[in-house]
Subunit: 314 residues, 4 copies
């Protein structure tokens, strides 16, 4: 079966054409700044990949999505609100469409094909412009009434900085690409002569550039990534206290989210685990599907839809 | 069918004998300070209520309980750890026993018989010596790998005070009976001549006494209860972001947990709801079963066990 | 000798005509929102009081004043910056003028005529729209290079709210009229049915109204004033560690700054005094001259100027 | 004239013999853990340097010293309290003795012979086990009633960690040798494989070792020193708001306190200066006398005493 999966994030759109479980084509573009642009861009991506033979399209979007209606309620990083995305796309594309939260479908993908294969109760934490979350219970996406998994906006520090969502001290204000950039800027300002500052003299300070520097062995960059990892681990500890999952998968677009961020997270989580003397810390794993997880998961969800896999309201 | 339900909290044990859904006898005692004492006290309570005709005993305990083994792993407010409570009690009592977390069974009770009748996705927040939590998904208790719902130890303020669990800034450090007592003591120290301070000149400053004063119209007490309610509401907002439940029920032993604490919680939760312009705040209800919820829920769980109601691992 | 003293605060201007140590006339007006308006308003006030026989005019202004030039550098609560106030007023009024910080002259007045008579090393803390400060060392105003005493902008809480000055967490963000108003609004929002909230249903929530309610016995109001007093006392502790004065005087325009705010401040200061087991807490006294202290001090400074009292650079 | 100056810090005692302004001999020992040991150690140091021809001995001690009595009231880092040090030493040594706070005499030394020559209003901040402070006004030590300059215990963060003095969040908890060590340990724990961690695998993590690593070009160490420098600068900003000095001198025993810590401090202070658009940041200079400043200043104070230089009560 051929399906298309689309991952619509705060900065970019990735679309994949999958045939019988294999990615056969890909298309990448920048996220438009208007709701109309968003619909057009998805249409354009699907057309570029070819709709012939495609039985369904799945879309994962960064924000609150009403399930199973597939309307985009709102998200701090994507234009538009209360947008009937599924209906509009079905009209444009002429095939069945399913629309879900981007981290939900990424969790599904990691559960089916990635780091969480063999686990039935999974939480997935995605790091990017913000923090996204997906929950898999007994092998199926758990959505609560629709919007479960929005732990990027769990309170983390009542004295913290303002979040893009308008509240103060959400978890994603300290564990995300922008948080990493903020830390880097402070270091550069305090030590303008350091080799780290020199490295960024002519290069934009982005999350990707910092994680790339960390991967290249820059120790200041590694220290900053570890700080973000520490906050990641502290928040994961709260999620473990609340959900007690079998496994935690960390993915998302923050450069190569890998051991440089997850190792410190694991150390902090082990320190802070509630009842740590009487239980095991669940595995905290790096996502296996990389930045493709969302689009692959959207394609999987589309295939499930075609096959009538029971995806009840929750 | 006759069952016995036992609620084993940080300060007291309540045991109820239920026959065909009705409470026919009750027994109350103080929680012992030793693990052996705990088993003996439950045995004693069951004997006092009469074991004749009882088909099963259910126990809810404040802390981490391994499900379905029914062993008590640990809890900051109850003596003992890694205690095979279910096995020991079955040996002593000679009937089947089920042991679960106290807030889990309270949630079950409110779902079946209390404030959350008619809702299928429920979270229950219990206020007492700490904060307990229970999750009902599709009408059944959700436990994750065993210990889900321990949101009293969700990080709430990284700069906060030490929690009984050993970590800093857990939610229950600001929303619980002890938190209320701490606020009251500060007020008394700053204003030793106030009528509020005079009221407590010869009376121990307990959570119950403060909520009683609030219910009696003392405006300082009402103000303190509202502060605790505000922290309750802020934390519930995080839970809604994470779980998106149909309904939130607030109960527990903090005096008469009622509108004096839940009304401010609701106001704060409405202010802080993630995506508040695009979704509804779920109802935040006062528990209907009062301090009996835990013991009733334990009895219900025991009856389910007898009837073979599918309570899979989670 | 006749002099005029003017106290130019963030909300109002008070001018007094003093003859041989006695206030013989007073004039009060609202602080204009423009620099030109400020000069005109002082001119108008002096004319209203009568300039006949007046040998000098003294002005105390809320903000940074260059001494002895008498130019107003800047202040978060008064319009204008780098304003050559002394020179402009001498041109307009035709008599010698001295211009100083408002809390400096209030400290001088309390030292000469008020609560600090008999003490030679005094710090004065004024509570109003913000916190002002004046230091008297060996009987003379201490100004450092010019701007000493601006402890309202001492860091008090790095996680605190934004101050009118643009920085975060200055002391005056928690100990001032606006801080009191903020606390009151939170209480009203949390408990809209309380008698405190009802009292302010049709009355603007101002610092004066809240302190008036406290003085009238409203216990919620007293509790809020005590909270501000606690922050006042904690900051005074820092000042004692830094300056070790003989006496601390608390005054300013926050309603009747009296024991309702100073008693809690004293309790907190006694608790937090550095080395408290080995030293005495200096007296923390309520100002004796009330809201007139600034204008009286300005008149005293003017008289000193006429008499050639050595007021060296500092 | 020959005098001996003694600097009695939290970890070591340095004694110098000075003749006509020149250091001719030095003696260094560890600070004893008992009050009796302290007196004996000073006696021993003076004897080792030779008392022949010595006209007076000056002692600077880390803590609260009553002036002019010369008794040591208390200090969090030195054994003993309410110790009549001047009287005991005069009895032992047979020459006049003056005893003052260590940072006071360091400030005097920097004012007369070091970085602050030519300035009349100086504040000196010493970084070591804690933060010490000395104030020079019009060329003379300013002591208030005795204990001025104890800004290490100014409140810096109400949510901060416990200070050795027993209070929470004092400035020295974030700007001192122990603060630097704490930061280093966190970095090592988060990144146990980093070259910084490897460097300390077999070396004790001390403030001196970290600053030495920073001076040797270790960028992680430089980053940590810069963090301490940032807190130093933020606190200096409060002191400038309060005292408006001509110059700030930073010295003390934290390794080579130099530009690695003072440059970031200066950057932060420039950012946070109250009224920064309308005034200049005073110079923030590295002390010129290094770790000898306290002992030299004590010798200077002893010489002043002999020469009858008016050192009035304050």
């Amino acid at each position: 079966m051929a399906t298309i999966g689309v991952d619509l994030g705060g900065t970019k759109i990735l679309a994949l054409r999958c045939e019988d479980g294999t990615v056969v084509a890909r298309h990448r573009t920048t996220t438009p700044r208007t709701p109309d642009g968003t619909v057009a861009a998805i249409h354009e991506a699907a057309r570029a990949l070819g709709l012939e033979g495609v039985e369904a399209v799945g879309v994962g979007i960064a924000g609150l999505v009403r399930w199973p209606e597939g309307s985009f309620a709102w998200g701090p990083h994507v234009a538009g609100s209360d947008l009937p995305l599924r209906i509009e796309l079905e009209g444009t594309l002429g095939v069945p469409v399913v629309v879900d939260n981007d981290a939900n479908v990424a969790a599904l993908a990691e559960h089916r094909l990635g780091a969480a294969v063999g686990y039935r109760n999974v939480i997935m934490v995605t790091l990017g412009t913000g923090i996204g979350g997906g929950i898999v219970v007994d092998g199926r996406i758990y959505r609560g009434e629709s919007f479960a998994g929005e732990w990027g906006h769990m309170l983390y520090d009542p004295h913290g900085i303002l979040c893009d969502c308008g509240k103060r001290g959400c978890w994603e204000t300290v564990a995300s690409g922008p948080a990493l950039v903020r830390l880097a800027r402070e270091v550069i300002e305090l030590n303008p002569d350091s080799s780290f500052a020199v490295r960024f003299a002519d290069t934009p300070v982005t999350g990707e550039a910092i994680t790339a520097a960390a991967d290249a062995g820059d120790e200041i960059a590694r220290g900053l990534v570890a700080q973000v990892g520490a906050h990641l681990g502290r928040g994961i500890c709260s999620l473990i206290a609340i959900l007690d999952p079998e496994v935690v998968v960390v993915g998302g677009g923050l450069g190569s989210v890998g051991e440089s961020v997850v190792a410190p997270a694991r150390r902090v989580a082990a320190d802070c685990l509630h009842g740590s003397a009487h239980r095991m810390l669940p595995p905290i794993l790096v996502a296996a599907l990389g930045p493709d997880a969302g689009a692959i998961g959207a394609a999987l969800l589309a295939a499930d839809h075609v096959e009538g896999v029971s995806e009840a309201r929750r």
